[in-house]
Point group: C2
Chain length 391, copies 2
């Protein structure tokens, strides 16, 4: 019996995760059919992707360029919004690989329509984890992790009872500045921050890795993906990025998932679940050739963003949405050269400190808080700019 290829939509197809998802699909011929592609500003790449995968539906950020795109994809290709894409009946799996708050509404639509969502967009669960998990329950839909850390935990939990989990242990490489003295962090440049020691990822997430804000987001995501209280989620420094994360069980047994740092493996897991498809897309791990594996506790003094994130996660409600919005603004300003690396935590901290907080916000409240936090963070960043210039 030959299985019907699974229908896939990729939101954010021109980004790092989107491109790697298409590579996985390319290397597993006959298993998937790309029904929809939604990209951002990189029209040339989106046109190339449309020419190769012939999607039925396309979307890109400016509508007037859409005509070229449809010409590239072929005559039967239609224009559709991300939410129309997510409701389309031909689609079994939505890869949510846009970044920022823009992914939230499409993901909610996909879940309510009962699609499996392979979730690479961190902000979706960070901003509105309680709303997203409720939508998944309503639609009887699966949320599948794409982050290597959550994929590792997910794989370690297959065949296990969630009630017997003692701790989830997220590993962190420590980012670009793990060996830079804390006193020197104010002077590091965006260019330096973009040199990740082990992973090749998008720009925003690479900066977030240097501050460990990324790991804080992941702790909040893990809280929702695995229905686990924040105090059972820990972060462990692991410089080599080989052990992608671990689970400790009630009997003391610890399981881990390992692999070369290559996002195509967790993407493949999320697309192929509940199967493991033969044919490794990512390079195979050779432990005897790899260097020794090291593990260290995290120094929260070095990583104030992680501390802020863990606190916001524990408070819940609208706090994580404020965290994510303020971080997005602060990272943009750092990459533009307007504020210093160490100002990222300051902007986030000041924004969180000014926030009142709502315990169980509805979606509109989350979106309102997101706007409010961006404004406040922008003002806070502007206040810090003269200091950055004077360094």
């Amino acid at each position: 019996m030959t299985e019907q290829p699974r229908g896939v939509a990729i939101l954010g197809s021109t980004g790092s995760i989107g491109r790697q998802a298409l590579d996985v699909i390319r290397r597993l011929p006959g298993r998937f059919r790309v029904i929809a592609l939604a990209g951002g500003n990189n029209h040339t790449l989106l046109e190339d992707q449309a020419r190769e995968f012939h999607p039925d539906l396309v979307w890109c950020q400016d509508g007037d360029r859409g005509m070229n795109l449809r010409a590239a994809a072929g005559p039967r290709t239609a224009w559709a919004t991300m939410e129309e894409i997510c409701a389309d009946q031909r689609i079994d799996i939505v890869v949510a690989a846009t970044s920022g708050a823009a992914g939230l509404l499409p993901v909610l639509t996909a879940l309510r329509c009962g699609k499996a969502v392979a979730l690479a967009n961190k902000e979706v669960l960070v901003m509105a984890g309680h709303i997203v998990t409720r939508a998944a329950e309503q639609g009887r839909a699966e949320l599948r992790p794409v982050d290597s850390e959550h994929s590792a935990i997910w794989q370690c939990l297959w065949g296990e009872d969630l009630a017997t989990v003692e701790r989830l242990i997220l590993t962190a490489s420590g980012g670009a500045f793990r060996d830079v003295p804390v006193a020197d962090l104010a002077a590091v440049t965006p260019r330096e921050a973009l040199r990740h020691p082990t992973w090749d990822m998008g720009r925003k997430v690479t900066i977030d890795s240097a501050t460990l804000m990324n790991k804080g987001f992941e702790a909040i995501e893990a809280r929702w993906l695995f229905n686990m209280p924040m105090d059972r989620i820990e972060v462990l420094l692991h410089r080599e990025s080989i052990v992608h994360s671990l689970v400790e069980f009630a009997d003391g047994s610890v399981k881990a998932q390992l692999g070369e740092p290559d996002m195509r493996l967790p993407i493949q897991c999320a697309l192929s679940y509940p199967e493991r498809m033969t044919g490794a897309v990512a390079p195979r791990l050779n432990l005897a050739r790899s260097k020794a594996l090291h593990f260290e506790d995290v120094d929260l003094g070095r990583y104030p963003c992680l501390r802020l994130a863990l606190e916001a996660g524990a408070r819940g409600g609208t706090w994580p949405a404020v965290l994510a919005a303020a971080d997005e603004v602060a990272v943009e300003r750092f990459m533009a050269g307007s504020i210093r690396f160490t100002d990222i935590a300051k902007v986030v901290d000041a924004t969180l400190s000014a926030h009142g907080g709502t315990a169980d916000p509805v979606l509109d409240e989350v979106l309102e808080v997101d706007r409010w936090a961006r404004e406040l963070a922008s003002a806070e960043a502007a206040r810090l700019e003269p200091l950055a210039r004077s360094r």
Copy 2:
């Protein structure tokens, strides 16, 4: 709803694994009832165990000491052979922790009677894996591993499809002489060989760890436990004994199970399956406190016993039974000071070389081959004795 305690028989209760199994049961009160204890020569300990656990059935190696034992256990305790124990209806799980060929018939009985067998006796599967797995099928019985390596693999396979396994990777500490120059191995003493760098185990298995024969046995056991061809089973040196073994899947993902080197965890897993029982008996792992984890390929030149075992496993039939019998004789002679450490491999090699081999032996043929191999190995050891004395 309170669950009925599971009825347990422990064969080899006074040995290292037997004592640790009783410790697990002691620390999980109300979950298990010790129905039967079978011990060897350590009558004092067996009497203490009988006094504490009040088994219904007891057995020990000399019958005439049995009267004291029953006095210790209490008036309702009866005397029974190991095979009678294994057929008893009150018993759900048999912990097979005797060593050597003596465990074979009781294990076959237990499996044919549909009991779960927690298997710590290596020789059972090494000698007669095809007969044992067939008995498990007949009795619809479960074979559960107790070795830390097989337990690790087993745990990594929960919720996975065996058809998607690419490789089983057994880790090996390298034993007592991993850093001793090969040229000096002829002069090492039994006392030195019994100092295992990471595990506290019985004497025979500690010597077998120093030669890596133990890892060869484990590869053959893994072949039967997980129905995996020998060429998909690999051995990796891992000095710290924290990663107990790994599984690589068809998609390139690798899963591992980790823990402090303490046999009580795999014993607990085998007893509590398919649950994980809350309350860790073994100490919890702290990776940040542990030293770095290292992995190396094995040098088969340093470990000729491993090479012999992998070859015997690949040939199958009666070859592994010959391997196990010859090794048992050789290790006894080494511990008695009669032959040198490096003679263990010579005795085993000479015995295997003299063997004709049968492809699919019945049990009597296996037992006959076992006797033959012991005789031949004894003669071979005797031939080497003068050389050992002359050193």
